[in-house]
Symmetry: C2
Subunit: 253 residues, 2 copies
């Protein structure tokens, strides 16, 4: 890592520093390696601590760095491709589903969820909690909202709670004909409960994938899935996703 | 906005504050309204400025707040649904495409792009720059990489540069048979050039959508599109996307 003089550059200092740091990560550091501490790094590049921190935050957003309590800042491995959608539409819990059910409760959903499900605002809906693990790491947490009207033959006797209840609900869902589904992806921050499951602090950046499962023109189930934005690249389509890192600057001709 | 005492809460202070602030936004503020300044807000909630700032950052990630230079922090309008994928696969520039070509250059792409295109690392490829505007606002910037071998009949005479060149390249691309496409979505930070086009500062959080267009088992074109993460919700599927806000906490039963 050189000691580039940053004062003469017209673009924001933190941005230029980010580019310099990014190149240093490529050429001088290996995955998992711990970066020097902030004071040393700031001195090395002749920048204020605040500027350094902004550059580090950017590289964290891009998935290049990980900041871990008690460890420091390390060079992150490439993001994992996590398949969100394949060619075939299927109900949650169908054969080959990557999600593991954890439990099932009856709860009043957020107002926005009730609006989509067309339930009354104080009405409880079945709420299945599921988690997704890839290469031994938790990558996503999901809340799946299912109005009781979608699973009319669900028996309350066999499996009143827990994983068994979640499985029973998903099994009943398969009886319906899936007529379509649509998805939205947006940036969010991890709620306390999800953060715990994802091994992150509350408020960490996550990619929120909202999926509507449609039958007879209405939403029979609604999934709100929270993916770790630091370690995941969400893939769509049949061929297994694209391996590319945005952090490489275009080298203009 | 009350003056809730935050000291006794076991969860991180900034996270609890975020929830309190989020509720206040729902009940007391309207879209576009300017929040009181940080010093006043911190005093009101009895928290340190650093804690307040963390909570505000979270709400910004979630698209609830916008921080604008010279204006302050305002309550954000709901995110716009921006269709990334419809049922039909199509080449960029096909009829109905939402993107506007800006220019076309020949440039050496980043190494990761060259790997996907299977071009030699120092080989130039056609690089079409496009932008996407929704409701009068710039929402996304794209670099579309096309190896010369994908458009063998492209004439260099008629339109040597600029928008006309970009259109000629896209027109030639339509001659190929599109055999498939796949996508990946991940969190990134806006490069200087994209940030300018998106009316943001370099390093602002963006959603990076990488799309591979396949023909005869190889990648004929590669799109790297950068969407504003603060104002956009990316939608996939035929029914126009899901209107939901992740920020609402689940009200447990």
């Amino acid at each position: 890592m050189g000691t580039t003089q940053l004062d003469t550059v017209p673009e924001p200092k933190y941005w230029h520093l980010r580019t310099v740091l990014s190149e240093a990560l490529d050429s001088e550091f290996s995955v998992g390696e711990i970066l020097p501490n902030e004071r040393d790094l700031a001195a090395r590049f002749g920048v204020a601590r605040a500027t350094l921190r902004q550059a580090l935050e950017q590289l964290e957003l891009e998935g290049r760095l990980q900041r871990r309590r008690g460890v420091g800042t390390t060079v992150a491995p490439p993001r994992m491709g996590v398949a969100v959608e394949s060619e075939q539409h299927a109900w949650p819990g169908a054969f080959g589903d990557a999600w593991q059910p954890i439990d099932c409760t009856a709860a009043v959903p957020p107002a926005a969820v009730a609006d989509i499900l067309e339930t009354v605002h104080d009405e409880q809906v079945l709420t299945v909690r599921r988690s997704r693990v890839t290469h031994g790491q938790p990558v996503a947490a999901e809340l799946l909202y299912i109005p009781a009207s979608s699973v009319p033959e669900l028996s309350g006797i066999d499996a009143p709670s827990g994983v068994a209840r979640a499985r029973a609900v998903l099994r009943e869902l398969q009886r319906l004909e899936l007529e379509g589904q649509d998805r939205a992806v947006e940036l969010g921050s991890a709620r306390a409960e999800d953060a715990k499951e994802l091994d992150r602090l509350p408020g960490a950046p996550v990619l929120v994938v909202t999926t509507r499962f449609l039958t007879k023109g209405r939403t029979a189930a609604l999934s709100v899935a929270t993916y770790r934005a630091d370690t995941c690249r969400l893939t769509f389509g049949d061929t297994g996703g694209v391996e590319i890192h945005h952090d490489s600057e275009r080298r203009a001709s």
